[in-house]
Every structure is written in C-alpha cells, then in structure tokens.
Symmetry: C2
Subunit: 345 residues, 2 copies
C-alpha cells in the first residue's frame, strides 16, 4: 500500500491523514481529541498515523476559525537596551505559558514609527498590545483608537495616565526620595537632576521624588540644578556640560536613567573632577554594566523581568475578561549603593 502523502509538503493536514486511512476529515479531527463518537480502534489508528506523520494543527486555520491569532504585539523604544530586552523576556515567558507568541516592534524613540508599529501590528491581527511609549510620544490618538475598538492594551514603565488602560510602573517618586536622602547623608547639598522630556510620566514622577526629597532634607529647589534632556547619551553629555559650567558646581548629580548617568560620568571625568569626592553620581535602572564601570555606579534596580511578567499577566487578565478596567501596578525598587555616591565623611 502506497502512501498518498506528497513529498515536498512541509506540513501534514487532517486531509492527509484522512486520505491515508480512508476516513473523513471530521473523523480524524474527532479522533485526535478522543471524541466518544469514534470507535477506540479507529481512534488509536488515527492517532498513530498522526504521530507518524508528525501532525500539528495549522494555526492559521485555527485562527480563522476561532478568530484569534494567539499573538501579542509588543512595542518598545528599542530592543538593544538591557532594560527593555529584560522586560521582553518576562513578557515572553508568561505569554508562552498561555500558548501565546509575541511580535516585537521597536519605535526607536520615534512617535512616527510608534504609530506605524501600532498599525502594522494590528494588520497582522495581534490580539492586543503591550507597550512602552517612545520619548517623543505626547499624543495618544493611536492608542485611543485601540481602546475605542476594545482591543486589549497595557502599558509599562512609560505610561499615559490620561488613558484608561492597565499599566505597570516602578515607584519612581519613592525611589528618588531615597536617592536624594542618600546624597544628603553623604554630605551633598547641591543636588542636581538631569531629567528626561517633561511630559513623560517617568520624568514627572522622579521629579516629584526629587522635590519631595529636597524638602525632607530641608534643601531648597534650585532651578539651575534641574536640566532636561532627551534620552540620548549625546544630549545627556550636553546637559552635564551645562551643569559643570555653573559658577557654583553641583556636588551630586542624579541621572534619570543609567544611560544618562554613564554619559555624565564620562563628562565629569573629562573635566578632571573626581567621583564621588567632587560630584557624587547616581543612576536609575541598574543596567548590567553599572558594576563594571569605574567607579561602580550607585543605581536603582527595577525588577525588570518581573515587570514584564506583570505586564503580561495584566494582559491576560484583560483577555480573559477578569480585569478591572484599568488596574495599575506600581512596583517597588531598591537603591543599590556602590562607589559613585559614597563619601567618607
């Protein structure tokens, strides 16, 4: 008896199995899920042939039928930063648990690309989106459309507070209060903050923490010591230069994130100033290389991987309909003290 299976076909279908055995497609389908309508012997036979032919259901057909693709779109500013790739890892693992795959798109910090990504991802019929907005994103029409169409959407890290969507963020305010106090305890009195774009929630939250921290330490806010930059190393270097040109130098700098802190570190060194003796330095996000720079960088650790997991969990709550309309998870952070901020007083 010759096999009817054509060679060159990459995947076996129910039809192939049906033809091979001489039964109908529906019988095969039922047998494979042990439907009682099919006799035990036939079921057994069909299952063995299916295994031999290495059958696996065609997800396209299933998707068409069930109207679901089992895919989640994930939009991040970039994929090469450890912070994001680590979060993606967390999302991926939870997605896998639910039998979902993720489709990753990078906005490259561009609003335009972010909008395109939303559209493209939607065209591929992802079932929803998990996103961290770009640093340029100050308009949210592309997301409002999703919410109006009832397409699941969850934000992480950089969120849009005005949108009614679930999110997971870090407690930036609390963290920066802690940083500011740490500076103070190490004798710093002119504490500078290099922030990101003012409309981003992370900039805002951390600034709140900065102000609150100053207050608690009995220090006054000095506009000279507050500068904004976009999130590039180049712009951060510029911001640092600006601080270093003040007639009265800062004695501490807090960078919105580690990228900014590293740029600041280079700039400070170039000016032959010592860290932390002349200027203490603290970052945020605890990138991998914090421990390997000199001096090692004091920073705030995000539980990045867990943030990714939580974001994904929020997503599935939403998919499964068990979510409150917009749950907001705020995760705790931890101050990791290293050499860049500790002065022997």
């Amino acid at each position: 008896m010759e096999s009817y299976i054509e060679m060159g076909k990459r995947h076996t279908s129910l039809k192939d199995i049906a033809r091979e055995i001489g039964v109908s497609i529906s019988t095969v389908s039922r047998a494979l899920k042990n439907h009682p309508d099919i006799s035990p012997e036939l079921t057994k036979k069909i299952q063995s042939v299916a295994k031999k032919l290495n059958y696996s259901p065609n997800p396209l057909a299933m998707g068409l039928l069930k109207q679901q693709t089992k895919m989640i779109g994930v939009i991040v500013p970039d994929i090469v930063t450890h912070f994001y790739s680590s979060i993606i890892s967390g999302i991926e693992d939870i997605a896998k648990e639910h039998g979902y795959y993720i489709l990753i798109a990078s906005s490259n910090e561009s609003l335009q690309k972010e909008i395109e990504s939303v559209e493209n991802l939607l065209k591929t019929r992802v079932e929803g989106l998990i996103v961290c907005i770009s640093q340029e994103t100050n308009s949210f029409k592309h997301f409002e459309k999703l919410i109006a169409n009832d397409i699941p959407l969850v934000f992480f890290d950089r969120v849009c507070d005005s949108l009614n969507a679930p999110s997971v963020t870090a407690d930036g305010k609390k963290a920066v209060v802690e940083i500011t106090k740490h500076f103070y305890e190490n004798g710093c009195r002119r504490i500078a903050y290099i922030s990101g774009p003012g409309y981003l929630n992370i900039s805002l939250n951390r600034k709140e923490g900065y102000l609150e921290g100053l207050k608690e330490c009995g220090l006054e806010f000095n506009p000279d010591l507050f500068v904004e930059c976009n999130l590039s190393p180049e712009d951060a270097a510029l911001a640092t230069k600006q601080l270093l040109q003040l007639s009265k130098l800062p004695d501490a700098i807090f960078g919105l994130n580690d990228t900014i802190a590293f740029a600041a570190m280079k700039e400070i060194k170039r000016n032959k100033l010592r860290i932390p003796e002349d200027i203490a330095l603290v970052g945020f996000t605890d990138e991998f290389h914090s421990t390997v720079v000199a001096p090692t960088l004091t920073s705030i650790t995000h539980p990045t991987y867990q943030m990714g997991q939580e974001a994904a969990r929020l997503f599935f709550k939403r998919i499964l309909g068990t979510a409150s309309s917009s749950e907001r998870i705020i995760m705790d952070t931890e101050l990791i003290i290293r050499d860049s901020s500790v002065r022997i007083l």
Copy 2:
C-alpha cells in the same frame, strides 16, 4: 440607509464591504486591486468604502491560501545580551523590508530548549529559521530534519560547519592573529587564551588564530596558557583563577568574548594585579560597556547589526530561490585598541 457593519467586530472583511455596497465578495476583492473587469465607478466606490471601514486583508486567510505566514523564526542563546539584540535588530529591519515579521525564541544556552524552540516555531508555521546555536549544542539532528524537509535555515555567529546551510560569521581567526600580534608588540610573551566549549566554531576559529599568531610571533604554544570555560561569568572567573595560580603568570589574556574578559578583569583586579602593566587584556565582541569599564577594554568589534542584516538577506535569497545552496559570508572585524592592552614600553 443603515450600515450593516456590526459593532464590536475588530476587523473589516471583504464580506462586510460587499454587504455594505450590495455586490459580491469577489467583485470587492478585484476592485481593491484595480482589476479591469470591474467598472471604474464601482471600483472607486468600493475603494472608498474599504478605506472608510479601514479594511486590511486578513493575513490568516492569505496565509492559508498562499501557504505562507510571512514569519521567520529566530533562535538566539539569549535576548538580553547586546550582541544578540543588536543582530536581531538587523534581522528585523531586513525582514520588515520584505513584509515579514520575526518570532524570537531564546534557548538560554540550553540544547533542550533549543530543540523545543525549533519544534514550537515550526508548529506556528514560520517559513524558516535564522539561528545562533546554544553553547551546549553538539548534536544537530533537529536541524538536519529541517534541511531534509527543505525548510530554509541560516546560521549566524555560532554555526555548524558540517551542515549544508548558509551562514554569516566573523573572521575570528584573522582577528585573533591580530590580537596576538598586538600583545606581542606590547611586550607580552606569555599570552593566554580563555576559550569557550571546544566544539563551537567560534572557539575553534579563534584558537586557530591564536596558534597562527603565536607562530608568526615566534612564540611556542604552551598548554598551560590555554583554558576552556563555558560562557558564564562564573566559569570564566574560575578559568582566570586557574591562570593566576600558575607558578609563572601569563602577561596577557585574551578572552573569547567580552563577558569572559570582564570576568577576567574583575578577577585580576581582585588579585591586585595591574592591567595592562602586569597582565594585558583583550576581549571580543565589543559590548557597549567596553568603553566604560576601567581600564577601558581593548576588543574586537563585530559589525553586529550588519551581521543580522546579512543573515536575513541570506534567508530571503533562499526563500526566493536565488541562493546557492549554502553561501557562507565571513565578515571582517576590527581591533579597537583601548587602555587594557597598551603598555608604554
């Protein structure tokens, strides 16, 4: 006239448009691609309605019809290392040019997970795979199966030479010859090499370069100065310890990659030895933090992003049938000299 479009449906189909206008589905399909059979007025009308309803073809249906998913599976040892995420970026961009999406899977350096990833990716009907094998991978059955089934497969960085598949790698041999000479010119005579698992092509190629370089410098190979480790920082630290316990210390260490070099750097510092005065150090892969460690690390730059692009291009050559059965691209590298290896003689 009331619209027939149901609310709550997330996507418009041809059927929706057809019903809205009162023509058949096939007419709509043809009109949308300007088929001459459809009258200009009707075409115009259909197109305007399609636009209004924000129609985009259902990729599941298309996939089923055309038997293609427009998806590529990418398997990497991990996604959080800059080297891999950067390559992924390159792959992604070329894929996007071709209207393809990529599905990323991490093997976490585990052969078992790699095998699972291959199977899972295949179940989702990716059209082919682009992979960098795990450090454990010394068996290739899971890939042979792909080749036998004529499923496109291209390797990058860590490849399997015995398999007849296209690949893109860096010229490790040439690079390490250069490194060795660089050490020699800086007065080093006891040059050590911390390698990775012996069966990996990258370990092999670089060892060839090491031996060749020693030869050209008139140095003899000393087995004491050659150690292998798996690619973890912990194991690299162990390997370094082993070197530092030699009665006669090495005066130069080359690490298979930057991760190993960083681990070695920590270990050397812990032993109160100076870099590069006591031991010169060179890495490979030029991770972002090479410039920010102290001393800054001399290393080899891979053109990572371009490697990703080339891998993807190879993939599409294969898909489009214009590929020689197994083209192998070998990319040039560059030695970036920094503080960790330059001695003032």
